[in-house]
Amino acid sequence: MTSKRSAQEYFREVYEEVFPIAVRVAYRITNDIEVAEELCHEAFIKYLDRMETIPDTQQAKYWIIRVVKNLSLNNQKRLGREAAANQRAYFEPAQASETGEVSYLKLEAKSHVQQALAALPEKLRVVLVMKEYGEMSYKEIGSVLGISETNVKVRAHRAREKLAQYLDGGDVYVP
């Protein structure tokens, strides 16, 4: 933070740039908007404590998204079996009650895709979530995860390939 703006203005600027990405990443890992919001709140509080040690907006973005990603994954691990049971309950019976064949197929597809995404190995899932929902570049994802752009490229492909295999076998409706 090298400018002469007040710390609060700078914090607001970082917040407006990073929150929309961070909350999408958190939501796609946790599948819960309230939890995602809470985790982002926690990450920004942590950032407030360290704001002066993080030199610029770009580094702040990487740092906050890394914290949000870790908090989200930890949250999922903590929920454990309960989260898995909740996801099944959320995705299956509720969607089966929809009327109309197309609606049903679309909802079935969502269910399968999100289940498949949640079942991916953590390091593949995180890359795909950041790419598809966070709309981050390979370079940015690499900076957040501390891996090379080539590694990000390979992981993104492996994640898609695994999902494709899953969807091939699931007879899923793709709009």
Partner: protein, 175 residues
């Protein structure tokens, strides 16, 4: 997982260089198998986005209302957690001096030869070295051969009487 498939994934993510992307587009027009693989991967992305993300604007506003007061009453970062700007040239110079000092020290401490020192201790730039009386002449010859100009202090046991004959000349150290 072929290199071609990774390229397809990178193309889908708009991460290929312009020239490579144009080349791949031409291949996609003429190679039905490549086209099929591309569509399979793009189908995964479409499926991932079939489930639209919720509108996070309310979450963003709500989280900001909770964070704004905290950003105003932010605790100052203690001095030991603040980054210290150090020029790269300064770090390089300090490292060079450190390495040079280490090399000089190693040359002094690394004396071996026929007379194995029983005990050696370095204090700053002075060195205390113990050798057997029978091997002291060898040590003196070695130091003389290296044109060593350092002052040499020999501590004689108080329990024995000595008679000085010829070289080397013993100079009082003033201790």
């Amino acid at each position: 997982m072929s290199h071609e498939d990774i390229r397809l994934s990178a193309y889908l993510d708009e991460e290929l260089p312009e020239s490579e992307a144009r080349e791949l587009e031409q291949q996609l027009e003429t190679d039905p198998e490549l086209r099929r693989r591309y569509e399979r991967l793009s189908g995964v992305s479409e499926a991932l986005h079939a489930d639209e993300l919720p509108d996070f604007s309310a979450s963003m506003e709500h989280t900001w209302r909770r964070l704004a007061p905290l950003s105003q009453e932010r605790r100052p970062v203690p001095w030991w957690r603040r980054p210290i700007p150090v020029p790269l040239s300064g770090v390089a110079a300090a490292l060079a001096v450190f390495v040079l000092f280490g090399v000089v020290l190693a040359r002094f401490a690394g004396y071996s030869g026929q007379a194995e020192p029983g005990r050696a201790q370095t204090l700053g730039r002075s060195m205390e070295l113990s050798v057997q009386v029978a091997e002291s002449e060898q040590l003196l010859q070695r130091l003389s051969g290296k044109d060593a100009r350092e002052e040499i202090t020999i501590q004689l046991p108080e329990s024995r009487t000595f008679e000085f004959v010829g070289q080397p000349v013993i100079v009082p150290s003033g201790r």
